[in-house]
């Protein structure tokens, strides 16, 4: 099959590039598969149609592949609404919201390993902690638990609130209780003490959550303000900074020692220990279809923006430098919504 040859070629050239780029590096990073050393782009697809897909771009932006799941698995459908992706060891868990499915693949070869379906009710996000996969579900407002190696269903934790993004820190789970502008709390679950639960109140419009150095950062944005909370995971108490001039901040992503976020068409950055919001954008992008930042991510100082293109045609991904210089423009799958560094 022709594609295979293309692949081998790409694989070989990726090897070649990887080996020449680090002349004096001591490490020998041998790719573990065609999709190592790059960024996975999740395309959610059209609601009601099983056309979610994953695209791949190498870290050096020279190798681009579309629909890697279909390519590696005999054109098998990934599913309906690819919501999110998480990694554990050499696996990737892809959450398909409308299909009620988590597809498990080898993160480097993208060969399908398993399909988890048990007790999923519109699953949203996932994370692995101590060998267990935790998946948030929007209809059941619960977190379902699976063995991350055997994929066996282990149990359910009722959250009884919107269960959206989920991160781990200090052996605990932090679950964002909000989506699409609503919600103002974070639920903390401690699996080590029989899933004891506590709730931290943040600000309405909770939209992103990230872990860094034992702290959990939570960004909230609404029509009156933007507010960033920093939760100390030892005590589960939060401190915050806010801006009432820069409202509706979104899309927080921490890269290195910087917190990145967007507001309107602007990209902003501030230090992890900032005491005020940065209100001057690094740069602004041209707004041509109202959805320039449907997906947003910062990886190794490069800014990835995903324009959903109205969900009617190929999504457009732009890779930009910290000053807004366009490094690469890609036509990806339908409705790109997230970027995942795969190294």
């Amino acid at each position: 099959m022709k594609l295979k040859h293309v692949f081998l070629g790409i694989f070989a050239s990726a090897l070649l590039l990887a080996s020449c780029s680090n002349d004096d590096a001591v490490e020998k990073d041998v790719p573990l598969g065609a999709y190592d050393n790059g960024v996975l782009i999740l395309n959610e697809g059209n609601f009601g149609t099983p056309n979610a897909s994953v695209s791949y771009i190498s870290n050096d932006l020279t190798v681009f592949m579309e629909d890697v799941f279909g390519t590696e698995n005999n054109a098998k459908e990934l599913g309906d609404v690819g919501q999110s992706l998480s990694f554990y060891e050499d696996k990737a868990f892809i959450v398909l919201n409308a299909s009620n499915v988590v597809q498990v693949v080898d993160r480097y070869t993208f060969k399908s390993l398993a399909t988890i379906t048990e007790n999923l009710k519109n699953p949203r996000y996932s994370v692995v902690l101590d060998g267990k996969l935790y998946v948030t579900n929007s209809i059941s407002k619960a977190v379902t638990i699976y063995d991350a190696k055997t994929y066996a269903y282990l149990g359910t934790i009722a959250i009884n609130k919107t269960a959206e993004r989920i991160v781990t820190a200090n052996g605990k789970l932090y679950i964002m209780n909000g989506a699409y502008g609503s919600g103002n709390t974070v639920t903390v679950v401690n699996p080590q003490s029989n899933n004891a639960m506590s709730v931290i109140t943040v600000e309405s419009g909770v939209n992103s959550i990230e872990e860094k150095n034992g702290y959990v950062y939570v960004l909230c944005g609404n029509s009156t303000k933007s507010k960033l909370f920093k939760i100390d995971t030892k005590t589960d108490t939060a401190t915050s900074i806010e801006s009432t001039t820069l409202k509706k901040a979104l899309n927080m992503d921490i890269d290195g020692d910087k917190i990145y976020y967007t507001q309107g068409t602007g990209v902003y950055a501030m230090a992890l220990n900032a005491t005020t919001f940065s209100e001057t954008p690094l740069f602004s992008v041209k707004d041509n279809s109202w959805s320039t930042f449907y997906g947003f991510g910062v990886i190794d100082g490069k800014i990835y923006s995903a324009d959903a293109n109205g969900f009617t045609g190929a999504g457009i991904v732009k890779v930009l430098s910290a000053t807004g210089t366009e490094l690469k423009t890609l036509a990806v799958g339908m409705g790109p919504n997230g970027f995942y560094s795969n190294n």
């Binding site: 609601f47 099983p50 519109n122 209809i139 989506a179 699409y180 509706k248 959805s291 009617t312 190929a314």
Partner: protein
């Protein structure tokens, strides 16, 4: 996530309003139609009439009827599921369904779901191509579909029963009663449709799951002549349906949707000298419930109640000149999970004028202006003319401006609605050629349409979806309608065909609009010999793009579907027919939308009684 799903669903279904018809009912005919403007002010456009014999040969949904008999393309989410039209290359919300002269498109979605209208309760259904906003209001851009109940003032007493039963436990039954004297007339029917809809996929493992549906409809029309100059008519329809939505992936959450719609219209007609006045009062409700998980009790719901008052005054200036003025007032009140509580008021004035310049030459002009507390609407107009070059050939011309106002969801959806939306705006020109020669009829029309400020829901940079006035579209195309019939001795043959060529371009990239086929063909033929009758139906839908960039990877293939049916009438004087129909005779594997597989060959048996 609930809100997003609901929103997406709204978008999928997707916008709109209510206005209606008007004009002089020239002296009381024996048969009274409810929509005078369709009769008197549509001569420069193309109108295709589907009578009850055509209606009864097709499946009971409006989608199925129009798919096999007209050039309209349907986006059907699987058999019986949500179904949207594309008429002359326009969007789902740019075709209006008109019930007895009243626009009944959903105020929440702006469109009618063509699988929530059952056809057999109507005496006739007319399909008018092209703009009609002056008379039918918002959304009449691509065309209008007219559902008509007719009242007959002549001694009659008739019962009719039609029962259809077939594969997948599909039942369609309608019982109707017609009773009339020369003073009063009554017409009532009850319809029930239901199906397990669990057909096996062709060429793929599995069955259609969670596709079951039912609906009930009660339809009434009453007329009473007070005296020689005054009459009162009342029309009513109640529709109650529940559909589960078929799954497109194996483990997806099962959902269902319930519709409850009621429509009531009271008309008082008086003839005074050379004028006819019609006072109309309509009360229309729509209500839905959406269950995002049938295993739990929770649902979201919404509805709109609309009151429409209208004064329609027609005056004959001379035997060759007619004037018609319509003053109307509409109040819509919406209440629902997503839209809160909102009210909208619209007042409008339409003027229509028609003149015959000679035996062969006729023209009509009309205009409408409306005022609303919510949006600014343009002056819309229509101007048309017809000229008969000979007995055989008539030339028609029509130019119109039409519009579509934002829906309740567009304006008020919590956190997303955009109160600053403008109405969509369209200009359209068409030239029609009508040929009649003995038993042949051919209508060939070319048209061009320009639409701007099209409303679309898009995700924005504030993490939300919101509707905006964005797209501009240029459409041109051609349609042909062909008819022929012949009777000799005990034989009767007839043939009807339609063909549409449609180019609908997004001005942004000059690409064909997705889900608009370049070609669509329908053909049907029937042959009767004495009491036997057989018929064949054929539909070809060309390939469609499913993405705005016309990516060839995501083309939905063309499909050709044929049906065959046959029946025998046992009765001498009345109707006592027994028959069968095979749908999808050649077992074509096809999808009208991606991943929405349609059924293969299936059989229906039927009985029609009329006494």
């Amino acid at each position: 996530m609930t809100a997003k799903k609901l929103l997406l669903l709204s978008i999928v279904l997707s916008c709109q309003f209510i206005l209606a018809q008007n004009k002089v009912a020239i002296p009381l005919n024996e048969v009274v139609v409810s929509d005078n403007q369709l009769k008197n002010f549509s001569s420069s456009q193309s109108v295709q009439k589907l009578n009850d014999s055509i209606i009864s040969k097709n499946q009971s949904s409006l989608t199925s009827l129009l798919n096999y008999t007209t050039a309209i393309y349907f986006k059907e989410n699987g058999l019986g599921m949500v179904s949207s039209p594309s008429f002359r290359g326009t969007t789902s919300q740019q075709t209006v369904v008109v019930w007895n002269g009243i626009n009944i498109n959903s105020q929440l979605l702006g469109q009618t779901d063509f699988n929530t209208v059952s056809t057999r309760e109507f005496n006739s259904i007319d399909v008018k191509a092209g703009g009609g906003s002056v008379v039918y209001g918002s959304g009449a851009i691509g065309g209008t579909i007219h559902l008509n109940n007719e009242l007959k003032f002549a001694d009659t007493f008739k019962n009719s029963l039609q029962v259809y039963y077939g594969d997948f436990n599909s039942l369609s039954a309608i019982y109707g009663l017609t009773a009339a004297t020369n003073k009063w007339s009554a017409n009532a029917s009850f319809t029930r449709n239901s199906s397990d809809n669990d057909f096996k996929f062709i060429g793929k493992e599995g069955r259609n799951t969670n596709g079951q549906y039912y609906n009930n409809s009660l339809n009434t029309a009453l007329g009473y002549k007070l005296n020689a100059k005054n009459s009162i008519k009342f029309y009513s329809q109640i529709y109650d349906g529940e559909r589960h939505f078929s799954l497109t992936s194996l483990y997806a959450t099962k959902t269902k949707y319930e519709d409850y719609n009621s429509r009531n219209l009271l008309t008082w007609t008086s003839f005074i000298g050379k004028s006819v006045s019609n006072v109309k009062l309509a009360f229309i409700t729509e209500h839905y419930k959406y269950f995002e998980d049938i295993e739990s009790k929770g649902f979201s719901s919404g509805g709109v109640k609309s009151l429409i008052a209208k004064y329609d005054f027609a005056y004959q200036l001379s035997p060759k000149m007619n004037l018609n003025a319509i003053l109307d007032y509409t109040k819509n009140k919406g209440l629902g999970s997503g839209i809160g509580e909102n009210t909208r008021e619209i007042g409008g004035l339409s003027m229509l004028f028609q003149q015959s310049l000679s035996q062969d030459w006729n023209y009509e002009i009309s205009a409408r202006k409306e005022v609303s507390d919510v949006y600014k609407s343009p002056v819309v107009f229509s101007a048309g003319s017809t000229y008969d070059f000979s007995e055989i050939y008539r030339l028609k011309f029509n130019f119109s401006r039409n519009y579509r106002i934002p829906t309740f969801n567009d304006l008020y959806w919590q956190g997303s609605g955009n109160p600053d939306l403008k109405p969509e705006n369209s200009y359209q020109a068409e030239v029609g050629n009508q040929f009649r020669y003995r038993d042949f009829r051919l209508n060939a029309t070319v048209y061009a349409t320009k639409i701007d400020d099209m409303i679309r829901w898009l995700p924005n940079n504030f993490g939300n979806w919101s509707p905006v006035n964005t797209d501009k579209v240029s459409i041109y195309g051609a349609e042909a309608l062909l008819g022929w019939n012949k009777k000799w001795a005990a034989h009767f043959v007839d043939f009807n065909g339609t063909y549409a060529y449609t180019v609908s371009l997004d001005d942004k990239n000059d690409k064909q609009l997705f889900y608009v086929p370049y070609h669509k063909i329908t053909a049907s033929s029937s042959y009767s010999y004495k009491k036997w009758n057989a018929y064949y139906q054929f539909m070809f839908t060309g390939e469609v793009f499913t993405t705005s960039d016309n990516n060839p990877k995501y083309i939905l293939s063309d499909y050709t579907v044929s049906n065959f049916g046959m029946d025998y009438n046992f009765s001498q004087k009345n109707v006592c027919k027994i028959g069968f129909k095979i749908a999808n005779l050649w077992n074509e594997k096809y999808e009208a939308l991606p991943s929405r597989i349609m059924p293969g060959r299936n059989l229906t048996l039927y009985l029609n009684l009329n006494y």
